[in-house]
């Protein structure tokens, strides 16, 4: 082992209590950051996934302008072509077709204006969680025509149960009046009130018949293997469609385009979190600055001797930095290990957040939160700590160069 490293190591343990306290402070900061960041990332993942699963999918192909205007006539005229393109695109797990129409839905007692969504039962089950959240009755099957699924809250508002009939009146793609009677086949509870209150699902075939869609749909929804792969898949799909669709009437949107609020909300949360963490690290830095400083000023005489026997100021600085970096690194390693262990425990068991069910329903987060360890969540915090502590340590380490041997020797 290098002499300097050996000296630094021994110097650290000249005052074990102080060094341990300092390292504990660093470890505490790292532990907290690892846990908090994993927790944040975990909740983002859950939020994105639940929103993607129930609402938007990872990618959608729509007619240009449909996302903003939601007008009946902006359709994807030939969904099967898009479907076969998606089928040939590597990385796409599943896809489905949807069509939406704002309509008046009346039961015997009540009338509400809501969105009627036409879905392809078999394909939909692979893309969204709709089939899994059915609470009463059953999911749509292939041969169904005038059957409907609706949210529990909507069923309550309309005062209908399984087997009851609903009258649907809306406007077709061509502006004609669209009317039908559907029977409630099942109710679902997605956990997101807004969704459960505002939509009913009917088979796509039936939808296309009554709304005069002439085979068109509004959205072709695709689910990729993972969030990370989406940009690449999007590019491929865009290129293929461009070759096919000469008039440029179709656009490919990813989940960020489809839910701009979600990603911005995440950014906001992440940035405010990082500001908090920086403040915290700053407090820690000042807390440990004294240890580093004292390590220099207590030993003025010692440094005087070292300089008198020919140690260069450069080497002294190096020695001091070695001491503080060793302490920091030990603290960080301990912090990361402890942080990972704690996070891992909660990743397996989950954290129940009591008194939060309202917030949870608004954002569609499950009531048990699972932090998620990832390379980023484990490294961002400790890297910040390493940087800030390093700069803290620089001050005393540079200060030592100004010592003059004679003065230093005479100090007590």
């Amino acid at each position: 082992m290098n002499v300097d490293v050996k000296m630094a190591w021994r110097n650290i343990w000249r005052n074990p209590r102080r060094s341990i306290l300092t390292m504990t402070a660093i470890a505490f900061a790292c532990l907290l950051l690892v846990f908090m960041l994993s927790f944040q990332f975990g909740s983002y993942d859950t939020m994105i996934n639940s929103a993607v699963k129930i609402h938007t999918g990872h990618l959608q192909v729509q007619a240009e302008g449909y996302q903003d205007k939601r007008t009946m006539r902006l359709v994807v005229p030939d969904p099967e072509t898009i479907g076969s393109i998606l089928e040939q695109t590597p990385g796409i797990d599943a896809y489905t077709y949807r069509a939406n129409a704002f309509s008046l839905v009346s039961s015997e007692e009540r009338t509400y204006g809501i969105v009627v969504i036409g879905i392809d039962p078999a394909r939909e089950a692979n893309v969204s969680t709709l089939k899994k959240v059915i609470r009463q009755g059953s999911y749509l099957s292939e041969g169904d025509t005038n059957q409907a699924l609706l949210g529990e809250l909507l069923a309550k508002n309309l005062q209908v149960g399984l087997g009851d009939e609903l009258v649907v009146i809306g406007q077709g793609r061509d502006g004609s009046v669209a009317a039908t009677v559907v029977e409630v086949k099942g109710t679902y509870n997605s956990g997101q009130d807004e969704f459960d209150r505002s939509s009913i699902h009917i088979p796509l075939k039936h939808f296309q018949d009554i709304y005069a869609m002439r085979g068109g749909v509004h959205e072709v929804v695709a689910l990729g293997k993972s969030l990370g792969a989406i940009p690449a898949i999007r590019k491929t799909v865009e290129d293929t469609i461009e070759n096919d669709d000469k008039k440029n009437l179709l656009v490919v949107l990813d989940w960020i385009d489809l839910m701009p609020g979600l990603i911005e909300g995440i950014k906001l949360d992440l940035i405010s979190g990082l500001i908090l963490y920086c403040i915290l690290i700053l407090v820690v830095a000042f807390s440990i600055l004294n240890t580093f400083l004292m390590a220099v000023f207590e030993r003025t005489k010692e440094f005087g001797v070292m300089m008198a026997i020919g140690t260069t100021p450069r080497r002294l600085t190096k020695l001091l930095l070695l001491e503080s970096i060793t302490m920091t690194v030990i603290g960080i390693v301990v912090g990361i290990i402890a942080g990972c262990l704690i996070t891992w425990y909660f990743q397996v068991h989950g954290i129940a957040i009591s008194g939060m069910s309202e917030v949870v329903r608004q954002f569609g987060i499950p009531e048990r939160m699972y932090p998620k360890l990832s390379f980023l969540s484990v490294t961002i915090g400790p890297t910040l700590v390493l940087f800030i502590t390093f700069f803290t340590a620089l001050y005393p380490a540079l200060k030592v160069r100004r010592l003059r041997p004679v003065e230093a020797l005479s100090s007590v």
Partner: protein, 407 residues
């Protein structure tokens, strides 16, 4: 004399004292500032919620909250009105509304909205709409066919001032009632969702359209002081026959905001604790250093007959001075920051969509809350002294002989 001794002792090493004080100052500053920032955020959330047609207290027909349908309206508002006039404190304002879900449509679009029939003069004193109209004009008392809609709705429907908008809703006979209105005013609200959801017509127009006669959906009351809510609500509950009416306060009406309130409280206190732990390490370490440097001194004092308790007191006095100075500076700095920002606020427009999604305002004005400031200071002060007991006890335990032999 203790104070003087402590004071001189901490300035024996000014650099060390300054460094640890900076740690305390940053810590306290961040507690005060973050506390005020979050308090401001949640306060605005509450205020927005209350101004967006919630008010402090609402009176409905029994069962309306569960099932806000037209047949759950109050047919004899006069009864409630008389009770209100008797029981609300002076300075309180209230209004009556018709509120039903409806479908709005024009030639190009249709969509779901909430139709609100208002008494224009009274409503203006109760909710945000009185001052929110940016184009055209607010409803007059006789605006039989006038409608005020949000800017986002206008964009969505591709319409403009002076154009027609048809509203459809279920009337009291369970028939579909519809009526054409002309857009006379366009309002802007803090949240885009509000602009898309609410359309306002006059109370009489709504009543006629829905064949309600004199019936209304809700009474909304705003009190001069938010803290009287429970008392007034209880009085109203006692005065109104419970078989026919229900009274709710804003906490019942805005469960999401209520949940946020308690969540933010917990969050702020956890933050206080975490910051304290971070600086606690520094306080212990620094005090320990100060103690160990002076082993000989403590030994000498003890040899001269100083009781251990006095030594503990001496060391604690030093921590006390350190903490008090750090806290004073931190508080001043925190208050100055908040004061400087209270004019312009903290602008989150760069994340407008995110703020909207999270339900917070675009500009946050930090609010100083006496409770938060007190708790922050108490946490630092009490825990600060507690952790200093360790080095103080160490100092008290040196035996004179060992200590004097120490070099």
């Amino acid at each position: 004399m203790h104070l003087q001794l402590g004071w001189r002792n901490i300035w024996r090493n000014p650099r060390r004292t300054t460094v640890i004080m900076i740690a305390v100052v940053i810590g306290v500053w961040s507690m005060i500032f973050m506390g005020a920032f979050h308090r401001g955020m949640i306060n605005q959330m509450v205020q927005n919620g209350i101004a967006t047609l919630t008010g402090h207290i609402q009176v409905h027909f029994k069962g309306y909250r569960d099932d806000p349908a037209i047949e759950k309206s109050m047919a004899e508002p006069k009864v409630v009105q008389a009770v209100l006039e008797k029981h609300v404190p002076p300075g309180a304002r209230w209004t009556a509304r018709v509120r039903v879900s409806a479908v709005a449509s024009n030639a190009r679009h249709s969509g779901g909205v909430t139709l609100v029939g208002i008494d224009p003069a009274r409503e203006a004193q109760v909710s945000f709409i009185g001052e929110a109209v940016t184009q055209g004009h607010y409803l007059g008392p006789d605006d039989e066919y006038g409608i005020v809609v949000g800017e986002a709705l206008v964009e969505k429907f591709e319409t403009k001032l002076g154009r027609k908008l048809v509203l459809m809703s279920q009337d009291t006979d369970r028939e579909l009632a519809s009526r054409a209105f002309r857009i006379v005013g366009i309002f802007r609200a803090e949240m885009e969702a509000t602009e898309k959801q609410f359309v306002f017509v006059t109370l009489t127009a709504a009543q006629r359209m829905l064949k309600l006669e004199k019936g209304i959906s809700e009474f909304c009351i705003v009190l001069p002081d938010r803290h009287e809510v429970d008392e007034v609500a209880d009085n109203l509950r006692a005065a109104l026959p419970p078989s026919k009416y229900e009274v709710h306060n804003w906490r019942d009406l805005l469960p999401l905001v209520d949940a946020y309130l308690s969540l933010f409280d917990t969050f702020i206190y956890i933050w206080f604790l975490v910051v304290f732990i971070a600086m606690g390490f520094g306080i212990v370490n620094t005090t320990l250093m100060a103690v160990f440097e002076r082993i000989r001194e403590f030994g000498l004092l003890k040899a001269l007959g100083m009781k251990p308790w006095w030594i503990i007191r001496g060391v604690l006095t030093e921590s006390f001075l350190l903490l008090v100075m750090g806290m004073a500076a931190g508080n001043i700095l925190g208050l100055v920051t908040i004061f400087a920002l209270s004019g312009s606020g903290i602008d989150l427009s760069a994340f407008a969509a995110g703020a909207e999604w999270a339900g917070i305002s675009r500009v946050i004005y930090p609010v100083i809350h006496a409770k938060d400031v007190t708790i922050a200071n108490l946490v630092v002060f009490i825990l600060g002294l507690l952790v200093s007991i360790y080095p103080a006890a160490k100092a008290a335990r040196f035996t004179p002989v060992e200590a004097l032999a120490h070099t």
